[in-house]
C-alpha cells in the first residue's frame, strides 16, 4: 500500500523521524518528524533558540542525535559530517560559512574536495559568471569580502560539491534587506535551474516562505505547525508570531 502511494508522490530526499538531539546534557530537539521531497524548497521557521540550527546540525552529523535520518532511504543517523557530505548533502552553516584565510578560488576548490572529476574548473567558471565579483576577487582572502559576498561564496562553495540536498542555515543573518532579497531570488533560480533540493532554516518568514514549497514552524524543539508555504503565509497565528503583521 505504501509502495503505491510513494510511487505517486515525488521521491523523499530526506525523511526524518523522531529527531532528538542537543548539546551535552541540554536537549534541544524533542522528537519530531519532517521530510523533504525531490526538488522541493522546504523552510523551517522559528524564533531564536527554537532549535532550527540544531536541526540542521543533527542532519549533518555535527551533534549527537537519536531518531532516524534517512537520505534517499539510506540511514545516515550515525554518519559523521564528512560522510554526510560524501552522500550528497551540502551544509552552509550560520554566519561565517567560508574559510576566511583561504582565497576565494581556494574556497571554491575546497568545496569540490570530495570530487575527483575534471569539471571542477568549469563549475568554478560558472560560479564566476553568476557572481562576477568572485572572479574579480578570486585571489583575495575570503575574509576580506563583505558579508553578502561571503554568503554568496559560502553558497557557491557548498554547491561546488554538486549536492543533491542543500542545507542553508539562516542565510539572511546580518545582511542588508536588499542583499537578502537578491540572495533568496538566487536560491529560487538555483532550485529551478539545477533541481537542487533545499532545506532552509530562517527567522525571516516572509522572505523564506516566498520561495518555499512547504514550511514547518519549530517551537522549543517541537514542530507546531506544518503545511504548504502559501497556507502558512496566510495563517493568522504565523502572521502574528513571525511576520509581524
Amino acid at each position: 500500500m505504501t509502495e503505491q502511494s510513494t510511487s505517486e508522490k515525488r521521491a523523499e530526499v530526506l525523511d526524518v523521524t523522531h529527531l532528538e538531539g542537543g548539546y551535552g546534557p541540554i536537549q534541544v530537539l524533542h522528537g519530531f518528524d519532517f521530510h523533504v521531497a525531490e526538488g522541493e524548497v522546504v523552510v523551517i521557521l522559528g524564533a531564536n533558540g527554537a532549535g532550527k540550527t540544531t536541526t540542521l546540525r543533527a542532519v549533518s552529523g555535527m551533534i549527537q542525535r537519536t531518531g532516524t535520518i534517512k537520505l534517499r532511504g539510506e540511514d545516515i543517523s550515525s554518519a559523521t559530517p564528512p560522510e554526510v557530505v560524501r552522500k550528497g548533502v551540502a551544509h552552509v552553516p550560520q554566519g561565517r560559512g567560508t574559510l576566511p584565510e583561504l582565497s576565494v578560488e581556494d574556497n571554491l576548490r575546497v568545496g569540490a574536495y570530495i570530487r575527483s572529476d575534471d569539471e571542477v574548473d568549469a563549475d568554478m567558471d560558472q560560479w564566476f559568471d553568476i557572481y562576477p565579483v568572485l572572479r574579480e576577487r578570486r585571489n583575495q582572502r575570503a575574509g576580506s569580502l563583505s558579508g553578502g559576498e561571503q554568503q554568496m561564496l559560502a553558497v557557491a562553495r557548498a554547491l561546488m560539491s554538486r549536492p543533491s540536498l542543500l542545507l542553508l542555515d539562516e542565510p539572511s543573518l546580518g545582511l542588508a534587506p536588499i542583499i537578502v532579497q537578491d540572495l533568496f531570488d538566487r536560491f529560487s533560480h538555483i532550485n529551478k535551474d539545477t533541481g537542487t533540493t533545499m532545506l532552509i532554516v530562517e527567522q525571516n518568514a516572509q522572505l523564506a516562505l516566498g520561495i518555499a514549497d512547504r514550511g514547518y514552524v519549530l517551537e522549543s524543539g517541537h514542530i507546531q505547525i506544518e503545511g504548504p508555504a502559501d497556507d502558512l503565509i496566510h495563517d493568522d497565528a504565523i502572521r502574528k508570531a513571525y511576520l509581524g503583521v
Binding site: S60, M62, T80, P81, P82, V85, R86, A90, H91, P93, R96, G97, T98, L99, P100, E101, L102, D106, R109, V110, G111, Y113, I114, G143, R157, A158, S161
Partner: protein, 296 residues
C-alpha cells in the same frame, strides 16, 4: 671586522637550524594553534635514527637521513593518533601538558637507548670553506644549511599550495567546522601535519650536527627548541617565511648581540627569551603572522 663577519656566518648557520625547527612548529601551529614542545625531541630522536642507520647499518648518509625522516614521520603520525587525537582540539592545556610529557619521555628513552655521551655525526656537506670575505671564512657547511632551509621552505610551500592534501590542511587551519562540512576528515589531515613536521625536524637535527664542531646526544635540541620557539613567535607562528626570518634573526642575535653586549654565553638562551617576551608584548602576531581577527 673579521670576527664580526665570522659571527654573522655562525649566526646564519645556527639560525638555519632554528628556522627549520621553527618551520616544523609552524606546521603544527597552523593546524592546531598549539606549540608542540616535544618538537625538538622528535627531531633529536629522528637524528639518532639517521645516526644509527648510517653508522651501524651502513646506509649511505643521505639515504639514512631520508629514511629517518620517513620513520620519524610515521612515529609522529602514530603519536598524533594515540595521544593527541582523543583530546578536544579546542582545549589547549591538556594538549600542552601532553607535549611536555612527550618531551620528557622521548628525552628519557633516547637517554636509555643511546646514553648521554655525545657522538660524532657523519658530515652531510663538503667540508672546508667556499669563500673568504674580509678575512672571514664562509664554509660550505653554512652555505648548505641555508640552502636546506630554502629547499624545505620551497617544498612545504608547494605541498601546501599545489596539492589536495595541502588544500585540506590549509582549510582545516582556517576553520575546522567548515572543513568537515566540505568532506575533509580533520583527524587524518592534522596527522599529516604532525608527520611532515617530524620529518622536517629530523632533517633539521641531521643538518645541525653534521659538522665536526657539534655532536649528537639526547639533550642536543633542548636549548635549540627554545631558540626555535622564539624564532617562530618572532616570525608570526603561522608563517613559514616568518619562521625563516625569525630563525636567522634569533641566530644572529645569539652570535652577534650576545658577545658584543657582553652577556655570558651561558645566558645566551636568555636573549632568545627576551626576544620572545618583547614580541609577545608588542606584536603578538609576530612579523609576518596573520593577526587574529574576531568579527563581532
Amino acid at each position: 671586522m673579521e670576527l664580526f663577519i665570522n659571527r654573522i656566518f655562525d649566526g646564519l648557520s645556527n639560525g638555519a637550524t632554528y628556522a627549520l625547527i621553527a618551520m616544523a612548529l609552524v606546521m603544527i601551529f597552523k593546524a592546531t594553534t598549539l606549540i608542540n614542545f616535544a618538537q625538538g625531541e622528535f627531531a633529536m630522536f629522528g637524528g639518532f635514527i639517521a645516526y644509527v642507520l648510517a653508522t651501524e647499518r651502513g646506509v649511505p648518509m643521505w639515504g639514512a637521513v631520508v629514511l629517518a625522516m620517513v620513520i620519524s614521520a610515521l612515529l609522529a603520525a602514530g603519536i598524533e593518533r594515540t595521544l593527541i587525537r582523543p583530546f578536544d582540539p579546542a582545549d589547549h592545556l591538556p594538549l600542552v601538558i601532553i607535549t611536555l610529557g612527550l618531551f620528557l619521555a622521548i628525552n628519557a628513552v633516547a637517554g636509555i637507548v643511546w646514553r648521554f655521551d655525545p657522538r660524532a655525526f657523519p658530515e652531510l656537506f663538503p667540508s672546508g670553506n667556499a669563500a673568504s670575505i674580509g678575512g672571514a671564512n664562509l664554509s660550505w657547511y653554512t652555505i648548505f644549511t641555508l640552502l636546506t632551509v630554502l629547499v624545505v621552505a620551497g617544498a612545504l610551500t608547494l605541498l601546501l599550495n599545489k596539492t589536495k592534501i595541502g588544500l585540506a590542511f590549509r582549510a582545516v587551519s582556517s576553520n575546522l567546522e567548515s572543513s568537515e562540512l566540505v568532506g575533509i576528515k580533520v583527524g587524518p589531515t592534522l596527522q599529516f601535519g604532525w608527520a611532515i613536521a617530524a620529518a622536517v625536524g629530523t632533517l633539521a637535527v641531521a643538518v645541525f650536527v653534521a659538522t665536526p664542531v657539534r655532536q649528537i646526544e639526547p639533550n642536543v635540541m633542548i636549548t635549540g627548541l627554545i631558540f626555535a620557539v622564539s624564532a617562530a613567535a618572532l616570525g608570526g607562528l603561522d608563517s613559514l617565511g616568518g619562521a625563516i626570518v625569525g630563525g636567522l634573526a634569533i641566530g644572529l642575535v645569539q652570535s652577534i648581540v650576545v658577545p658584543y653586549v657582553g652577556v655570558p654565553s651561558e645566558l645566551s638562551l636568555l636573549a632568545a627569551v627576551v626576544v620572545l617576551m618583547l614580541v609577545l608584548l608588542f606584536k603578538p602576531s609576530g612579523l609576518f603572522g596573520t593577526p587574529a581577527v574576531e568579527r563581532v
